[in-house]
């Protein structure tokens, strides 16, 4: 199994966990991102993810390498799904196994924070009122009052 994949099908968490399970590990830390029905006060009906797939996979690999340098060698698998996802569906799973629990948890946290900053994946939110918008986390939240 490749360590970092951009996929267009459902993410099978159990399969990812089995891929890292090993006699030398005592801890598996997992982060799962799911599609939420509300963002910035707006009712969301679906999210469409797209990616610069070739770079995204390489950037995920680099982040996994960095986490090993910081927290020690671990087994890491990352899958990010793209395409149109319904509410509650899994968009990402990060699975890190390590002999000990603290570095396993530090690894998943490091990886998700870095993904949010620099992996070329984008999402367009589809709202319940029929509109849609690209999500831009770098944009300051809209003012609710002009004052």
């Amino acid at each position: 199994m490749s360590r970092a994949s951009i996929v267009t099908r459902e993410i099978d968490l159990a399969r990812l966990v089995e891929a890292v399970r090993s006699p030398s590990h005592g801890a598996i830390s997992i982060f799962v991102g799911t599609v939420r029905d509300l963002n910035d006060g707006r009712s969301v009906s679906a999210i469409e993810y797209s990616a610069y797939t070739a770079m995204a996979q390489e950037e995920l690999e680099r982040i996994a390498d960095e986490s090993e340098k910081r927290f020690g060698v671990s087994a890491v698998v990352i899958e990010h799904r793209i395409g149109v996802l319904d509410i509650s569906e899994t968009s990402i799973a990060i699975v890190a196994a390590h002999p000990h629990r603290a570095p396993a948890m530090d690894t998943t946290r490091y990886i998700i924070e870095e993904i949010k900053k620099r992996v070329p994946i984008w999402k367009m939110e589809h709202y319940s009122d029929g509109t849609r918008e690209w999500v831009d986390p770098t944009r300051v939240a809209k003012q609710t009052s002009p004052a």
Binding site: Y52, A54, I92, K116, K117, K123, M124, W134, D136
Partner: protein, 81 residues
């Protein structure tokens, strides 16, 4: 002088009305030179002042030199996870 292809994604592809553009570059051109060309394109007025550029699948610095055959992409603000 050579021609490079710049891949466009997500909101930037929408702004520029295409998923890729071809641009002529002088030998020794930098990422900054490339950005000047991109800003002259129709629809580019709504790009941010310093959009991120990836060269060969790695984020590039403004003074990095672009070689013929490089894989080039303009990277909108990311929102993965």
């Amino acid at each position: 002088m050579y021609t490079v292809t710049v891949q466009l994604f997500a909101s930037y592809a929408e702004l520029l009305g295409s998923t890729a553009v071809e641009l002529p570059l002088a030998s020794g051109a930098t990422v900054n030179d490339l950005l000047r060309h991109i800003r002259a394109l129709p629809g580019a007025g709504r790009l941010p002042s310093a959009p991120r550029i990836a060269l060969n699948r790695t984020f590039a610095t403004p003074d990095q030199i672009i070689e013929a055959g490089d894989e080039i992409a303009l990277i909108p603000p990311v929102a993965g996870g």
